[in-house]
Symmetry: C2
């Protein structure tokens, strides 16, 4: 058996085509959807992510502006800036790139973004609406995972999903999304983490395992059952002298061995990653429709 690869690229292209069409529709109504990205400091990975978000916006017809601020920016000044963006009727979507410098409390910042403009779905109100079952914007990686599984027709209703990792960005909102009493969701969800006594006991019973803990090759083939689906959210750099850059990117799953046992697996890179940006574009359209049409 060789697992079918759940490739992100064709799904992301489909999403971008949808967004391009919807954005054109909004422009025809006189509203050009726009996104303001706030980048504090000069984390190299953050710069790469912000760059790929800017390019994606350009491709689909969303105006994007990136505010590049020094790492020395105070929390108070950042909160004031967010307050200004919240009140600026010309601004639709706001995204504060994480991680922030250690002196700034990310929770205070996420709470400051107007939920109506929150394209990341991280504002408490949006996280709560997701958990309660009437979502507005949904965190991009969980939304992308659900879209991926839907695209490849991996059945979710009644399935047993085990999520490894309880981050606010992936594990918790994904659990909230999949457990809902909604056709096409309805999963039995288990969240495992660093304090779980025996993770393999859970993953071996799962129809779908989502690895989102940030530990290269953590999920081994002996931890999953034949025919399962593995969604690998990890993006880890491991040293590789043979690689041009001296490292290569690997996921949280041991890809080569699981490939022979699972029915479906997402590659890393090229799996979930492209969908995260796609769902950001979708969220930007949603907030533009909400905020832009009021402006």
């Amino acid at each position: 058996m060789t697992a079918t690869l759940l490739e992100g690229k064709p799904v992301a292209e489909k999403i971008e085509a949808e967004v391009t069409e919807e954005a054109a529709g909004l422009r025809a109504e006189g509203v050009t959807p726009n996104l303001t990205v706030v980048l504090v400091g000069d984390d190299p990975a953050s710069k790469v992510y912000v760059g790929s978000k800017e390019k994606a916006c350009k491709r689909v017809g969303i105006d994007s502006t990136t505010l590049r601020l020094p790492a020395s920016l105070s929390q108070g000044d950042l909160l004031r800036l967010i307050g200004d963006l919240n009140h600026n009727q010309a601004v639709h979507g706001i995204l504060v790139q994480l991680p922030l410098p250690p002196e700034i409390d990310p929770n205070a910042v996420l709470c400051a973004v107007d939920p109506a403009k929150d394209v990341d779905g991280f504002a408490p109100e949006n996280m709560g609406k997701l958990l309660l079952g009437f979502p507005y914007t949904v965190a991009c990686t969980p939304a992308g995972i659900a879209r991926m599984l839907d695209h490849y027709e991996v059945p979710l209703d009644g399935s047993n999903v085990v999520i490894i990792g309880r981050s606010n960005i992936v594990g918790k909102p994904l659990a909230a999304l999949l457990v809902q009493k909604t056709k096409g969701r309805n999963c039995t969800v288990t969240i495992c983490h660093s304090r779980t006594a025996d993770i393999a006991r859970h993953t071996r019973d799962a129809d779908i395992v989502v690895a989102a803990l940030g530990s290269p090759g953590f999920l081994r083939a002996d931890m999953v059952r034949p025919g399962c689906t593995v969604v690998d959210v990890g993006i880890n750099r491991v040293e590789d002298p043979a690689a041009k850059r001296g490292y290569r990117l690997v996921g949280d799953a041991d890809f080569d061995t699981i490939l022979k046992k699972a029915a479906f697996i997402t590659p890393v890179p090229g799996g979930v990653g492209p969908l995260t940006v796609g769902m950001l574009l979708k969220n930007t359209l949603k907030v533009a429709r909400c905020c832009g049409c009021k402006a």
Copy 2:
């Protein structure tokens, strides 16, 4: 083996003693904590619940007001009333008793309550803060369950918890509370529900089973492992010609048989129930400290 009963009354009495002292402290600062309960229609069970909340407030030194409104009240009028309460600086806590008449959308109502005054912890912002790990008010029944387990020193860190039921009132917020990376929580959490293929497969592996689905005697002894803890949130009326009222109250667990197999079990009635009101009092103090001291 006979399970130890997790009786709610002694824990509730301890909570009330704490709240009484804290309320006296607030009064000494010039703030008498107060709660406004909004009761729409005349559901008999709701009247009983509201009555017991009023009595509990009186016992601990919280001023309570109940606004009794006809079932014919429109959603618009209810939302306007909530808006007035939100803006009334003399009002600390607001509780809208559920269920509401079928013409009124409960989600619209829960979204309308100012999160700062939300003693039920049902406002999306508060549900989101709970999931994200920096809670303000926490839904009363989940908070009461955690307090019960803490009181009887049932260990939670690293334990395997299976929750049956995905309601917005119990199952979902309880999962959010127990999964957190916090000393004394840190549970591996599974949420099962009506679409779970084989609930017993999950519950048989659990250290703690929480039954919150509203189905009398659903959780049988053969579905749990020896030495586990069973928290029974169900309150179901079953006909009983021998009982004075013609019915008796039973939980979602088959109490008599599980009693011989589990290490701990909550009785019904007298288990989780009294703690729900206790946590409402705690939440009322919290909002009084937040809103009252600003007023």
